[in-house]
């Protein structure tokens, strides 16, 4: 056995140790156990692979793409998939593969921004409502109900219409309609947690409500919210695509997948690839996030701990 393998084993033993010697080792050990559990879940691993691949593609798009995403060759318009353009060209003769590759940046950007805005809002509102109870809870939850009562796409549409079309506004609109389910989940978890003995112990130690919500309750609600977020990612991508499709999201010539489908719609019957290729991309990425979310749900399930 090579030395590297031995070193690897020692490293693994250190991470997997049941008696860590420092905070850092304990925390890294948790991450290690978590990632091992995730890797043992084949579908989750597949989902994670898709998502990681997406990140990689987004980062390396300029190197991977055979053509510039916006370079027009009107002579080559609407070419079918072939040796020169693997996935064909669109109505302006732009290479669809290159546009899809660059499009991952937009898709990932939307996903990341929506998550960064909606998840913390939902988590904070849900935990506060659940822990405070009384009129705070009632008020926050009625607002949540109003948001939940309207179909997401319609609501997002209304926001974008008010804010003006554009990718930034689309992100904002999606984030504004995405948080209520997270608030609901966080509240439900908080209600179950606030009666628990470890919260009572924290109260007796003199912890303030803010401290209890932030340090004790939120970390425990986080896992269900993460699961829900990753399951929602497919929906977010679809809403973004829908807004793009309606011309209210990314503006031309940005290679946004939804807008690409919209543009391809006119040629659907004769030049199917123009609309189908971005459609397949959306489907694969949505699937990736869904698989990851499902796997996370199994791995993060507190009942298994």
């Amino acid at each position: 056995m090579s030395r590297a393998a031995w070193a690897g084993q020692g490293w693994r033993a250190w991470l997997g140790s049941a008696a860590p010697n420092s905070r850092r080792q304990a925390r890294l050990g948790e991450i290690y156990r978590f990632s091992r559990a995730l890797m043992r879940h084949p579908l989750a691993a597949a989902g994670l692979a898709i998502v990681l691949l997406l990140v990689l593609i987004a980062a390396l798009a300029p190197l991977l793409a055979p053509h510039a995403p916006s370079a027009q060759h009107l002579a080559d318009r609407l070419r079918g998939p072939g040796a020169q353009h693997w996935l064909g060209t669109d109505e302006l003769g732009r290479d669809i593969l290159s546009r899809l590759l660059f499009g991952t940046r937009i898709t990932l950007g939307i996903v990341a921004l929506v998550t960064a805005i909606a998840a913390p809002i939902g988590l904070a509102i849900g935990c506060m409502a659940g822990y405070a109870g009384g009129w705070v809870d009632a008020a926050l939850m009625r607002v949540t109900d109003v948001f939940l009562a309207l179909p997401r796409l319609i609501l997002a549409l209304a926001f974008v219409a008010a804010l003006g079309p554009g990718i930034e506004n689309a992100v904002l609109a999606i984030a504004l309609v995405a948080w209520p389910p997270y608030a609901r989940i966080a509240r439900a978890e908080t209600l179950a947690l606030r009666r628990s003995d470890f919260i009572a112990a924290a109260l007796l130690a003199g912890a303030s409500p803010g401290r209890i919500v932030l340090r004790h309750i939120m970390p425990l609600c986080l896992s269900s919210v993460i699961v829900r977020v990753s399951l929602d990612m497919a929906g977010v991508i679809l809403i973004a695509a829908g807004l793009g499709f309606l011309g209210l999201g990314a503006q031309p010539p940005a290679p946004e997948w939804g807008a690409m489908i919209a543009a391809g719609r006119k040629y659907m019957l004769d030049q199917w690839w123009v609309a189908a290729m971005p459609g397949i991309a959306i489907a694969v990425v949505s699937l990736g996030f869904n698989l990851l979310g499902d796997g996370l749900r199994d791995v993060l399930d507190p009942k298994q701990r």
Partner: protein, 247 residues
């Protein structure tokens, strides 16, 4: 240490603790025995300041207590279920460090090590998560957390009910030793007469929210109670009697 006068607690419209009066001297261990629904746990939560719907008078170390309390760490509690009383994502270290951080107590590492040592755990347990500990070890951590702010009064809510007999014996011995060493006062709530008899000097029997009898542990052991319910409890605690069998 504690004085309670006509303490009454409610859950909505139902009265669960009904005009209970008692006092516990400094350094004394007082036991409350009762069956489920007797209101004993609620009484303990009122004393801890965790249940706000109560009336009557409650004095801790001579100071009258209000409904809403700022917790200064003088009263601490050990709960029944060692699986529910520790935060599942916090290491032992973090559980013990938090009370110190809240009260700006210095030398956290030293105090944490001392607290672990006091409950019979060592440095190897310090960075473990609760799921890496056995039930008995968790209960020791819960006791260490309760002691780290050096309280005067420890409230014990069925501290051994979820544990195996051999572990229960260890925890009882630990609680006995800690009280001796630190001159702590205990209020222990339990359904188990034997556990109460081992840990306490004085016992109140609680039923339907009331104290129906208060007696010294010697009398309890001797079986010289007066109230019929206390006698029934004593009989039932002796186990199933063969004499009842028709063999």
């Amino acid at each position: 240490m504690i004085e309670a006068r006509t303490l009454t607690a409610r859950f909505g419209a139902t009265t669960v603790v009904d005009a209970v009066s008692f006092s516990v001297a400094a350094g004394e261990a007082f036991g409350i025995v009762g069956e489920s629904g007797s209101g004993k746990s609620t009484l303990l939560r009122v004393i801890a300041g965790l249940h706000e719907a109560w009336s009557g008078a409650l004095l801790l170390e001579g100071a009258p207590q209000g409904r809403r309390r700022s917790h200064r760490g003088r009263v601490q509690m050990v709960f029944q279920d060692p699986y529910g009383s520790l935060h599942p994502r916090h290491t032992v270290d973090r559980a013990l460090a938090e009370p110190l951080a809240i009260h700006h107590v210095g030398d956290a590492p030293g105090r944490i090590a001392a607290a672990l040592h006091a409950v019979g755990l060592d440095a190897a347990h310090r960075f473990r998560y609760p799921y890496q500990l056995s039930g008995g070890q968790r209960q020791r951590v819960a006791i260490a957390r309760a002691l780290i702010l050096e309280p005067a009064l420890l409230l014990l809510d069925e501290p051994t009910a979820a544990l195996d007999v051999s572990v229960q014996a260890e925890i009882i011995a630990l609680l006995q030793r800690l009280r001796r060493e630190r001159q702590l006062s205990y209020v222990l709530v339990s359904h188990n007469l034997a556990v109460v008899a081992q840990l306490c000097e004085r016992v109140a029997v609680m039923r339907e929210g009331r104290f129906i009898e208060e007696l010294a542990v010697g009398d309890l052991r001797a079986g010289s109670a007066h109230d019929p319910y206390t006698l029934e409890l004593l009989r039932a605690s002796a186990g199933f009697r063969r004499a009842a069998r028709r063999v």
